[in-house]
Symmetry: C2
Subunit: 193 residues, 2 copies
């Protein structure tokens, strides 16, 4: 068995064990059915509320809330207030595009997938790494949907409810658009077979 | 003259004609001095205020303000209010990482540059395109600094001044960090010679 096929076998076992969010499952299955590709990580797009000690210290970030679906104001406020008021740090509201990392057997396979991803609306996609030992190429599939809003600092909420409502309406719309792009990408994959 | 060298010649002429923001000039010069690379576009990182008819319709966006340096609240407010109140659409406050597109003679040159970019903190860098006819590879150098905040809709400002001040302090900090990464990248380029 080649290095690539061996890595694929282990990646599929990992996926089987850990699972993936529902809305990206079909895409992962279709990609993994293709001999020359396998997925290594994925997210169907999400909304998160995090507490970070200071900007950039994301490794120490604490998740206060995480959703792979549209959110309501009440649950976001609840997440924000779940941080102890005395706790130092910043609360950020973040919306993230779907993201999928795909290992491709070689550069030709990678550029074919990259083209389909770009055509499906994943405009921030690119090749992230090329393995020297076996030529394996990792494609990151990523779209432009994104929001990063600092909401509160050191226990002090700075965003009004009416502003938060507006932010959430935009965010929910972005999330929906990201999921639609996943569908489009899924349909586009038939070109690879 | 090869296709690559010919394209490089024209790109340098274009750069000469149009110029670039001050803080990315040294980096462009160093890259363009190397035989196997040339830059095709760049931005040293910026803060913008835009008016968009609706989310995603970025092609129709109108710039209300654009700065490649830290901003003060007064000038941002002035930009926001420069949109006629009757004008339909959303006002967004956006902070963007430095971005540089570099054409590389071949894949080996591209992965060498990509490695240095990643090590300099440009974690969203990747290969965006590989030309079929001559093997030229375009690397996008991009970092994580980013903020996208919807501020106002249909002439109605939703962000309080105190929240805006907080957003600007974070944004100015991000801008500064982006410029520091540009310096680091510039120093790292000696590995390519």
């Amino acid at each position: 068995m080649s290095v690539f096929d061996n890595e694929k076998k282990r990646a599929l076992e990992r996926l089987e064990r850990r699972g993936a969010d529902g809305e990206v499952e079909e895409l992962l299955q279709r990609l993994n059915e293709l001999d020359d590709y396998f997925t290594t990580s994925s997210c169907s797009g999400r909304i998160v509320v995090i507490l970070i000690p200071e900007i950039g210290a994301k490794r120490e970030a604490v998740f206060l809330g995480k959703w792979h679906r549209p959110v309501r104001k009440e649950e976001v406020l609840e997440a924000i207030h779940s941080a102890a008021p005395s706790r130092n740090g910043e609360v950020w509201f973040i919306t993230q595009s779907p993201i999928v990392h795909v290992a491709c057997r070689n550069l030709g396979m990678a550029t074919a997938l990259l083209r389909i991803a770009l055509e499906s609306g994943f405009k921030y996609s690119g090749i992230k790494a090329i393995a020297e030992h076996d030529g394996k190429v990792v494609v990151e599939i990523l779209s432009t949907e994104r929001m990063d809003v600092p909401l509160a600092t050191d226990g002090r909420m700075l965003c009004s409810e009416v502003h938060l409502e507006f932010i959430l309406s935009k965010s929910n719309f972005m999330l929906k658009r990201g999921k639609e792009k996943l569908q489009r990408l899924c349909s586009g994959l038939h070109e690879l077979t």
